[in-house]
Symmetry: C2
Subunit: 110 residues, 2 copies
DNA sequence: ATTATTACATAAGATTCTTATGTATTCAGT
DNA sequence: ACTGAATACATAAGAATCTTATGTAATAAT
């Protein structure tokens, strides 16, 4: 995203949606996946991602499972039941937000 | 918008786009127009709007014209040349952002 | 008279990011 | 054997953008 304030506020939604589709993922994997999907145009910084994951866990939306792979630790996150509900809610909010932006930025002149 | 973090970062773009379409507007009018367009679903608070207008003016994107109407002062804002360019740029950024969100939230499963 | 609306403004605090920094392991190239 | 890139986590300081609260002041509506 480089210099994009628009991104602000959407990170949680993105993370939760990825976990919804992929069952479980670890932090580094999430950053790779976002870059892959957006062809490198959107980059999630670690300074934003890790605090967000911790916060979602603290809110009871995510659970964690530690794994060692190649002598490196990975923290796999997955949605709790509460997290699944919140994900649906946030996806609807995002949809509504984009509709409103469409109304504002592409006005239908009658 | 009530409780919507997604809104964060998009206010400048909305304001500039409205000024692009309406030539000149005053603060209170901008709040009314946004509510009108979004059927009351998006509400711009004054605490967000006025500092934003001042900032855009300080950056040379807006100019001001004072008017007295019904013994009440109005500050009409309008785009400078620099503001017109920045508006196009921000509208493109918003478009790109929404495309990326679409990629992330509505993945095309092959 | 009192409340709502119009019209501006700012300050404190919350939230979410960026940038910088730190630790530690593995892998690829020289 | 060494160096840098990649993998994988973490946190802290500061920036940017908002919310909430508050203030001023005039007109319109009840």
């Amino acid at each position: 995203m480089q210099n994009n304030q628009l991104f602000k506020g959407s990170l949680s939604t993105i993370v939760l949606k990825l976990l919804k589709d992929n069952k479980k993922m670890y932090g580094y994997q999430i950053t790779r996946e976002v870059e892959k999907i957006t062809a490198g145009e959107m980059v999630i910084t670690e300074g934003a991602l890790y605090p967000t994951l911790h916060k979602l866990e603290a809110r009871g939306l995510l659970s964690v499972e530690m794994k060692m792979v190649n002598n490196r630790r990975r923290k796999y996150y997955f949605l709790t039941e509460k997290g699944k509900k919140e994900t649906m809610s946030l996806l609807n909010e995002m949809k509504t937000f984009i509709q409103h932006m469409d109304l504002l930025l592409n006005p239908k002149l009658i």
